[in-house]
Structures are given as C-alpha cells and as structure tokens.
C-alpha cells in the first residue's frame, strides 16, 4: 500500500536531530528524507546512507583526461606534424614526454574536477533555474526537518516525535507532496 501521509518533524538542534533519527529508526518508521542547513556529522551513518561513489567517478574521469591528453599530444606533436627543433626531433612520444607532462597533469585535473562537479550537480538535481525542493525555508537557516511517510498518523508516532525533541510537526497528504 502506498503511504498516504507525510509527517514533517522540525528540530532546532543538530544533536537532538541525531538522537531523534536514531529513535525514529528504532521504532521502525521509514524516514523519507532529512533536510539540514549544514552538514551534520554522523547523520549519514545513523540514517544508514550508502557511501557516495563520487570520488571513484572522479578518479575515472581523471583517467579519461590523462588518456585524452596523451592521445591529443601524440596526434598533434608526433603523428600529424613532427618537427625537428634544435636537433631534438619529435618522432617518439616517450622520448618527448618530459615536455608533455605539464599538460598531461593539467588535463587530468581538468577532467577529474569538472566532470565530478557536473556529476554531483546532476545526481543531486541542481542546475540554474531548478526550483528548490526543501519543504520549508527554515531548513537553510537553523532548522532540521525529518520527513516520515506513513499510511496513517498514529498518536504513538506523534508522541515519539514530540519526545525526541521536535519543535513542530506538520502532517500533509502525500498527494499534495
């Protein structure tokens, strides 16, 4: 059955938030999302989020950049238009490599950094003219929001949230969401 209600519990302290997340999880409620104004250390651990693989992606992008730089300079300097400057002929990539190292490095960094950031923006759905999806403007100031989806709101859930230190609880239909 599709959850019919979304409960939004607001907190105004990061330590309270962490213990609240623990309590809610212990009581087997499903936390849909947590919105915070800053990075709360340890939150992804108590939420049980998988580690992000974006650093691995960046490493792969860096390898691509490294390969692109070698292919590009090999084609331009060795294959397409070899020159003999001052008795130093450019007929072999490996022998001429020392002067190609700076650009091999720069392009590795260029690819690794930019493609990683683009990946981050797309995976987290961020681009110019994108409308923000945080349900309450206070979550970028000093409030922390836990979103829980349930089929019906029980008094037990309300009590758990209240005891965990929530300062405000809003209930909405998930259709509105």
């Amino acid at each position: 059955m599709k959850p019919a209600k979304i409960v939004r519990a607001f907190y105004n302290d990061d330590d309270v938030l962490l213990s609240a997340v623990k309590t809610i999880k212990e009581n087997k409620y499903h936390i849909e999302e947590v919105y915070t104004p800053f990075h709360v250390h340890g939150l992804e651990k108590v939420l049980g989020l998988e580690p992000t693989r974006i650093a691995i992606a960046s490493f792969i992008y860096g390898c691509i950049g490294f390969a692109v730089s070698i292919l590009m300079m090999n084609y331009i300097m060795i294959a397409d238009w070899p020159q003999d400057i001052g008795g130093k002929p450019s007929f072999s990539y490996i022998e001429n490599m020392p002067s190609f190292v700076p650009i091999m490095f720069e392009l590795t960094v260029f690819f690794a950094a930019h493609l990683m950031v683009i990946t981050f923006y797309l995976r987290s759905k961020m681009w110019p003219f994108k409308t923000a999806e945080n349900p309450d403007p206070r979550t970028t100031d000093d409030h922390f929001l836990i979103e829980i989806s349930v089929s019906e709101v029980t008094g037990k859930l309300k009590k758990i949230l209240k005891d965990s230190g929530a300062v405000e609880i809003n209930i909405i239909d998930s259709k509105e969401h």
Binding site: F10, N12, D13, D14, D15, V16, V34, Y35, T36, P37, F38, H39, V40, H41, G42, L43, E44, L49, P51, T52, I54, S58, M73, I76, M77, D80, W81, I85, N96, S99, F100, P102, I103, F105, E106, L107, V109, F110, A112, A113, V117, S124, M126, W127, P128, F129, K130, T131, A132, E133, N134, P137, R138, T139, T140, D141, D142, H143, V167, E168
Partner: protein, 481 residues
Amino acid sequence: MGSHYEAPIRKPLVIGEKSYHDISVDIARPIEGRANKQWWIVFSIALAMFLWGAGCIIYTISTGIGVWGLNKTVGWAWDITNFVWWIGIGHAGTLISAVLLLFRQKWRMGINRSAEAMTIFSVMQAGLFPVIHMGRPWLGYWMVPIPNAFGSLWVNFNSPLLWDVFAISTYLSVSLVFWWTGLLPDFAMIRDRAVKPFQKKIYSILSFGWTGRAKDWQRFEEVSLVLAGLATPLVLSVHTIVSYDFATSVIPGWHTTIFPPYFVAGAIFSGFAMVQTLLIVMRKVCNFQEYITVQHIELMNIVIMITGSIVGVAYMTELFIAWYSGVEYEQYAFLNRATGPYAFAYWTMMTCNVFSPQLMWFKRLRTSIMFSFFISIVVNIGMWFERFVIIVTSLHRDYLPSSWTMFSPTFVDISIFMGTIGFFFVLFLLYARTFPVIAQAEIKTILKTSGGKYKRLRDSGKSLTGTGADKRTSVINKLNK
C-alpha cells in the same frame, strides 16, 4: 556530544554569543541592507580607474604595442610583471580553501570564501595581460589546439607559454567551480530569507535549487574533499609553470632550477598579503569582527612570515648559486641587480619581502590590526618589485653591451596596471554587496566546536544537546502551530 569536543586551550573562532540563526542574519545583512556612502565612493573610484584602464587597452590594441615603453632589448616589462603579480595574488584563495581543508584547519572557514573570490578576480586580471600583449587579441583562439585554417599547423606543446595557457585556464575554471559549489548552500540560505520577489528569483537561480538533503550534504562533503585534493597540486603547478616561462629560457637570472618552489612561495606570500588587505577592511565594514577574528589575522601573518622567509632563502640561494656556478654572465646579472641602475628596485624588494615579514616574530606586532594592514600593503609592493627585478634587470643588460638600455613605462603601461587594480576592486566590491562573503554553512558546522558560547558551555561541564535553538526562530515556531 563527544563529537563536538575541542581542547579548551584553542581560542574560539566565532566569538560572542552566536547561535546558528545569528550566523544567517549576520552573513545576510550586507546583502539585504543598502550600500553606504563609503561603498559608493570607493566603488566610483575603482570604476573610474577601470574605465580609464579599459580606454588605454583600447588605445594599445588600436595603435599597437609601441605605445608601451618596451624596446628591442626589454621586450617584456610591466605587462608580464603585472601578469605574474596578479597570478601570484591569485594563489592564496585556493591555498586557503584546498590546502587548509586537507590539513583540517578550521580557521580557514572564516576567510575562504573571500580568498577564493579574490583568487578568481585576480586571475582574471592576470589573464588580461597576455591577451593584450598578443597585439591582436581576436586571434587568441590560436592558443587552442585546433587545426589551423592556414595549413596543418598546431600549437607547440613543447612551449612553456602554451603550458601556461592550459595551467591558467584549468586553474581559473576549477577555482570557479570550487567556489560556486561552496556557495550553493549559502545562496540557498539567502534565497530562503529573501522577502522581495526579485531577490528571491535571482538567488534561486544562483543557488541552482540547492535543497540540503542528507544525501546532497554527503556528496557535497566528498566533492569538496576531492576538489581540495585536486586543487592542491593544481595551485602548486600553476606558479611552477609560470616560473617555467622564465626558467626554460637561457637568460642569466632566469635560467635557474630554484624558480618553481621560489615562485610558489612568493605567490602564497603575496596572496596572503592581499587577503589580509581585503579582509581587514571587510571585517570592519561588514561587521565581521566576530567571524574574522584577530586570531585569523595572526595566523595569516604567520603564513606571511614563513613564506616571506622562504622567499628570503630563495634570494640568498640565487646569489650563492650565481657565485658558485662560476658563470660570469650569471654572476654579473646578480651583481647588476644589487648595484646597477635598478638597485632601487632590488633593495625595495629586499626590504619589503625579506626584512618586513620578519617583524611578525613579535606577537604584539602580528596581533596589531593596523600593523598587519600596513605590512600587507608593503608585501604586495615588494612582490611587484620582485617580478620587475627578475624581468627587467635580467633583460636590460643584453649579451651585447651595445644593446644595453633602460626601460621606462609610458602612461599607457601605468594606466593599464591601474585599470586592472580598478577592475579588481570593482569586482570585489560588487561581490561584497551581493554574495555571502563568509561560508555560513561551513561556519555552522564548527559553531558547536569552536564557537565562543559553546566552548564556555562545554568548559563548564554542560551538555550542548538542544543548545542550537534560537529564541527568535522558536517564537515563529509557536505562531505557526
């Protein structure tokens, strides 16, 4: 919470009774308020300088490089001096945000945003000079590795000048992306506070729809860390490659292997001095004394002192190696620097860069705001002269004594340099009015560890749990219920 522990001996990085909400309010204040008279005065002066400089650039391009003071012997002078000076200044931003992030230096959070802004703006100024010096800037795309329309000629990947093109464009674009990614949560904070629809619209576009989900923050932290790891060798590579422009040539005084580390240290030295100049003014004007504290200034002074000492050692090494090499040309180049017609530039450089930072050994001096400001200006003058000394004194004594000459700048040389200073300040002043100039989301993460209020609470044995609440926002809660 144990995770918020910090040794009591460490001084607070955010002083006063700041709560999370206070940080939002304080950082948003300069953006939400109106510019005062002083801002308009300084902005007008900067804009006038910029426009005058722009006019001189147009004059240079339409008439030719002959309007500068260059001659057959001294073919590089103020243009490249200014270029290296601006690039050097542009090193502190990434150093603060990347290297200090890797070293987990929390004090960087008060200053990294403005330092990065300064980096981007100064690299933009630096980039102008090679473009103008081309004489025909509309052919600038010839530096890009694309097949040439006039035959199958390519750019030369053996040339340090081309390495520079790649290094600087990578540096500028990566710094920009690093800066902007860090800005997203702060733009989102401004967006969510904005009352006027126009402001809200602008800041929603700028914030790219930042939402602040737990997963976003997890990725944000990882991206910041990886970017810092990438930017650290990058920032070192940029000035290394700039130094190759000189070090790979066979001009006495340029052809030295010490150049890369020497240039990088000098760049950090001048960059920190410029950060110091800007932030000492900004903390006062924007009322950020509680976020950019005397401790921040002191730590920056220590970096200035250390890098200044490295630069001093490099100067001495150069002299020693010139003597030790036994090469007459090399020996003459250095003797001529210290005693020749440009001795004034050499001794200005020595005084400003080697002597003045040593005063920072005195705690009284390095914690004095006025003195720090003064030294930061002195250091930047010194670092400009360093580049002038390296470039002009090495060139003006050619191998043929009949070619020996002097360089004197024309009004166009001077105006273009002044113009870039104006342009830099135009950008920085606009930034200070429209951007969150302190990384507020990052400051909030260290508030419970390093905030004055929380340090006191912890030291008196109280728990920090639940202390994030702010009276003002809690009142709103009750009204909404």
